[in-house]
């Protein structure tokens, strides 16, 4: 089976600065690839290549065997769910309008949009009757992020991108949402690419972990194998775990 996403020798430069260096990897249908890395390692940049927010300077990113540069960007983005740390909900839209956005843009009939919104909000644990009419400012950080996830799932996209979605949440809420992520993944069987700098999160959520360091992929392995990794960059991340155990 051909991969859902494939990076082929992707480099990305801004001026003299190279943010991604000769990146090559594949993501298979149904798996969750976690891109782990420190700030500035290029993980967010790599993610933005996939829905065409950025274009590679050289090499190509294939989505369903077609280079992102050949896709109609609007089509590509509407079939790719995207969740970011700042959530980016529209402050002037209600919760239900935010969630129903892509289905509406896709021209679904209003009753279908409503039914879909209702189902999604229930799925992320926000009862429609209670939350549909609220504005984002009337929600807690965790609730906002749930709405962000529901919005990304709205048009049932086969591919989901997550950019440190739980990074700004308190640890308890973060754990709740990580559990929900695992439950959703089990139920929906979608392909997901998840960016984080939290090695625990990577180990819990990823079916494979790709470690990025200064724009290069230094390690790509399933969690169990990643725990035994011997590269200095991987060891630096694993040391965070030991320190937490000791503490």
């Amino acid at each position: 089976m051909s991969p859902v996403v494939a990076f082929r020798h992707v480099s990305y430069r801004i001026g003299q600065r190279e943010l991604l260096h000769d990146l090559s990897f594949e993501v298979q249908a149904g798996e969750t690839l976690v891109l782990l890395g420190r700030s500035g390692s290029g993980k967010t940049t790599a993610l933005k290549m996939i829905n065409g927010l950025l274009r590679p300077t050289s090499g190509e990113v294939l989505v369903d065997d077609m280079p992102t540069t050949a896709w109609d960007p609007i089509r590509l983005r509407r079939r790719t769910g995207y969740v970011i740390q700042e959530v980016g909900l529209f402050p002037h839209f209600t919760v239900s309008d935010n969630v129903g956005l892509v289905p509406r843009l896709e021209g679904w009939p209003p009753p279908d949009v409503r039914a879909r919104t209702e189902a999604l909000l229930a799925q992320v644990g926000l009862p429609y009757a209670q939350f549909a009419a609220r504005y984002p400012r009337e929600l807690s950080g965790g609730q906002r992020q749930r709405v962000g996830v529901a919005r990304a799932l709205a048009a049932d996209p086969p591919l989901l991108l997550f950019d440190e979605p739980f990074g700004a949440l308190d640890p308890v809420t973060r754990l709740e949402l990580q559990r929900q992520f695992l439950a959703l993944r089990r139920d929906l069987r979608k392909t997901a690419i998840f960016v984080t700098h939290d090695v625990r999160e990577a180990l819990v959520l990823g079916s494979r972990i790709g470690l990025l360091h200064q724009g290069s992929l230094v390690q790509l392995a399933p969690p169990q194998e990643f725990l035994r990794a011997s590269t200095p960059e991987a060891k630096a991340f694993l040391a965070c775990l030991d320190w937490k155990r000791e503490g």
Binding site: N51, L53, P73, I74, R75, L76, R77, R78, T80, Y82, I84, E86, V87, G88, L89, F90, P91, H92, L101, V102, L105, Y135, R137, R151
Partner: protein, 205 residues
């Protein structure tokens, strides 16, 4: 009070209002369109904002004077006055439109694009609604300033409440000056209040 003064106050007030309305309408159309254009073509920002800034710095009486000898757009009369008023009103509207749109949370804009919104959808559904309050604030400032500046239009035959003020100055008649100044101030206050109310009403969040 001379006979017929109330009638003349009414006439000149209406003339004044008409001149302000037309000027602000043109300035708002051009300023908002220009502001949107500048968010799409950032390299032009220096030029267009620079032009509007320079217009703002020219003393108003001088600007009215400068326009008189210019062929086609110049001369004596109402249309020259309106051109000068538009040039003045342009800056606050242009600047606020630009500031309002640029002030939209980058995360909101990025997610709008990532959701697959087209440029037009981004503008009409996200950027303009979120910038509406700032844009209206610019229109409000422009309107209030224009109501005051329009009194100078009388100096180049543009009519309006300035007619009383210049006549009063020439004849050292305080009553006449007040006959122009008081209605102008009242209009400005009303416009400020009304547009302030609209700002709150149209504010989306």
């Amino acid at each position: 009070m001379p006979v017929g003064l109330p009638r003349e106050i009414l006439d000149l007030t209406l003339e004044h209002l008409g001149m302000v309305f037309v000027s602000v309408f043109i300035a708002a159309t051009a300023g908002i369109a220009g502001g949107i254009l500048l968010t799409r073509r950032p390299v032009w920002q220096g030029w267009l904002l620079g032009f509007a800034n320079v217009m703002q710095t020219v003393p108003s009486l001088a600007l009215f004077g400068f326009l008189i000898p210019i062929p086609l757009i110049g001369g004596i009369g109402k249309h020259t006055a309106i051109i000068a008023l538009v040039l003045y009103a342009l800056l606050p509207i242009l600047r606020n439109t630009l500031a309002g749109i640029m002030g939209v949370d980058p995360a909101v804009r990025e997610s709008a694009i990532a959701m697959g919104m087209t440029g037009r959808q981004l503008l009409w559904e996200v950027e303009l609604p979120l910038a509406a309050r700032t844009i209206l604030a610019g229109v409000r400032v422009a309107t209030v300033t224009t109501i005051g500046t329009a009194t100078i239009a009388a100096a180049i035959g543009g009519g309006g409440l300035g007619v009383f003020i210049f006549r009063g100055l020439a004849s050292v008649d305080t009553t006449l000056i007040l006959a122009g100044a008081v209605p102008a101030a009242a209009i400005a206050l009303l416009a400020d209040g009304g547009l302030g109310w609209a700002e709150k009403k149209f504010s989306p969040v």
